[in-house]
Point group: C3
Chain length 348, copies 3
Amino acid sequence: MPEPCPVPTTTPPNPARPPASGSALRGATLKHVVESQQFTVPLLMELFDRSRGMEHVVARGGTLDYQNRIMTTLFYTPSTRTRLSFEAAMHRLGGRVLSTEHAGAFSSEIEGEQVEDSIRIIGGHSDVIVIRHTAEDGARRAAEVSPVPVINAGDGNGGQHPTQALLDLYTIYRQRPLDGLSVAIIGELDKGRTARSLAYLLAKFDRVKMFFVSPPQLQMKQDILDYLDEHDVRYELESDIDRVIGEVDVVYQTRIRPERVRDMAGRNNDGRENDGLKRYAIDSKVVQRMKPDALILHPLPRTVELDKSVDADPRAMYFRQAMNGLYVRMALLTMLLDKEQAARSAWW
Amino acid sequence: MPEPCPVPTTTPPNPARPPASGSALRGATLKHVVESQQFTVPLLMELFDRSRGMEHVVARGGTLDYQNRIMTTLFYTPSTRTRLSFEAAMHRLGGRVLSTEHAGAFSSEIEGEQVEDSIRIIGGHSDVIVIRHTAEDGARRAAEVSPVPVINAGDGNGGQHPTQALLDLYTIYRQRPLDGLSVAIIGELDKGRTARSLAYLLAKFDRVKMFFVSPPQLQMKQDILDYLDEHDVRYELESDIDRVIGEVDVVYQTRIRPERVRDMAGRNNDGRENDGLKRYAIDSKVVQRMKPDALILHPLPRTVELDKSVDADPRAMYFRQAMNGLYVRMALLTMLLDKEQAARSAWW
Amino acid sequence: MPEPCPVPTTTPPNPARPPASGSALRGATLKHVVESQQFTVPLLMELFDRSRGMEHVVARGGTLDYQNRIMTTLFYTPSTRTRLSFEAAMHRLGGRVLSTEHAGAFSSEIEGEQVEDSIRIIGGHSDVIVIRHTAEDGARRAAEVSPVPVINAGDGNGGQHPTQALLDLYTIYRQRPLDGLSVAIIGELDKGRTARSLAYLLAKFDRVKMFFVSPPQLQMKQDILDYLDEHDVRYELESDIDRVIGEVDVVYQTRIRPERVRDMAGRNNDGRENDGLKRYAIDSKVVQRMKPDALILHPLPRTVELDKSVDADPRAMYFRQAMNGLYVRMALLTMLLDKEQAARSAWW
């Protein structure tokens, strides 16, 4: 009796060894998306070119030719917005979606099964897997055994969220040259998945300067600072938004929970009293001190750290940023699926 | 650098100001579906015409031409049946579905985010949003900021469930002229979303009379009664099913939880002893006293208030009623999407 | 006024009376899939022929012509993997999917509604229903009232999981003639839905011998043994894997929770000490004593009872087995939907 027709697969490259920054291999290295530092500048430029194209596809209400491709969203911890953004992207490409919004609670993995077995099985049923795992190395472990591309949609608490960083960077890129940018990254940076992933990406560009603005005890972790030192990227650690807000091109605001900044209560540079939170929150007053062409980004959801009074400011980019998530994820999916398609064709 | 291509949108009309009943603007006023009283008679007739057409589409196993349109079901509190009915409707139109069955538990909104931000983002990713929110004004708040049509799939405890009322009315309309109807609406009417929404719709037609049958402490709330008074619609408040069951054209039964009618135990008009519940429940004996051509409706799910012995009675309409939900929701989606399509075409 | 167009239905046959084994009516008897013993050998052969074809459809990345058909997965208790396998199957056929991953928690059925009402309603909205119910007779009750085909995706604790058994059998069939097989079925057999369903299927073939390997207190229940006695099928009850592992053609390993075999600690036949679990677990040492062409199956997920060191062994079939689930479920869906299509065509 003949063997069953195997699903064509290619050996996944080890994503633990990302190619050196600046590699000229456009697209050739993108098998999985595990961490933002794996993206080279040429790869980013290819992604952004494709994202521009996707803006037109969506605006015309069309879809592309991926009607037989299946994407699985495998979320061990729920994130309605990120999941729906990926799923909308796949649908706008004309593709199909398998979805689980709470695999952590709803699967037998809680009884001891490993993510590797789940991925081997689901990888046989779909053409690309979008995973949000609770462990910091969850996405990497998935990529190491998956027969199909894996995209990290956020892992662990201090892990990464590379597609968020890609859409953040694309939002800046659509408005501004990336070389020479000065960027304030504000919030609870020690646990800031999106801040961490963005720092890695910004470091790829020339003459960038980053200001990490956070209470000292919540500052950016040493691994990121070491990476920036290694790559000769300039940065400063700040504990007060007032000292940087007027001189940066981009303000990247992230979540701040009031209970984590309570002991920062005191007096601002300008003499105003504050309750700790005020030192890091952005409202219509803070915005007045920004450059007239500054960009205000936030990965959302927001609570107290970004006031609704800012929404009407033309510098507020955060809803456009969310919209860009659709275009960037569409573009990323095509890069991964086209490659897989080529492998599949070669196999037959 | 040029601006990104914006998603074409139109300014949403303020749904807090529904057009006057009887407006001749067929379809022109339907941007969102927030509450049943926003429907005019001509709009209802257009909806029902389209619903008839959908019966044929489904019976032939076909789909329509909405293959590039995406509907998001955003349910903050789960309702499997209502969600699946909307999703089936979108699929039968040939469209695509993004789904979350428990956004309340699975999103960061519990951490303080407002529904407005979620809607702005999801509205950029899909062409229509079906929302079930926990707050009574959740759907209205969503509609006020959404770039795409919003449909209220039930909000709050004493709020509305307008598409349920539309399918209820369509079920009657398919069997009976709506003018001159006498209708008994039975159950825990104080918390009856479906009963409330239906009362608003019935009030649009001539010479309708409603009997609200409920223990006095669970009766229909004053806001509905004021609305009916204002529009010169006849109604009576009753506490015993026996006094109306024999003279109405339509019996609209809704949920009754035994613990809420326990103190109604006593003796029926006909001398039968009952346990309170019996005063409001429908079984094969009660059915015998109905008019031979009466219609029995129930929004389902049912428990003790509608006995299975009634299922075989030709007057039992409730399973057909559930099926009509598919047709009415298909029709409603086409009315909203066709309008959005027109706006989109005009924009380009 | 004319009657609404009813959805064409055919009276469901009573699945409580499966046709006699060996029936020559190929396909004619498959209206619902409730339990594995309802499959005759000719029906199994038709299913396996179709499954072979599906391997080619999937490998070529194509889909079939079911683009207007809707499958609902109605899972009262979550099982991410089984659900995704069915949904992938429907998508690979070109079809559409309505999904609920936790109807038990998310529906009003917990408030007292019966599965029958849910099925009547959902059956009006979709073309086939895949149900996982908590009660042992949940799938049968659903099939008895459903206007469309119902597939049992696992019911109760000691119930059945017939599609798992079908894909298990297909995995063996692809490698080996089924007549004359000797099969060791290992694990907590008293609660083993998959083991029970497989035993029924294997009993259909000639000269099969089964070894049920389990601690005596967790052995296969009497109803299965009675069925095998009645059909003259050979079996033995064993409590130690060592006594059968070297002579069987197929090792069907299933879940073993360590706490249930703790009191089996002692000494193996070969004198090795063990902790109870070792008497039933498979690792690279146990595998050495198997026949060189034995097949190792496991329905997955696995934990301690099947060591990862076995994965590289060419006899390990369990990931291929999971993949076969896709092909068999695609084939099964076509058999049910083609039949429904024929009924629909006849009706019009």
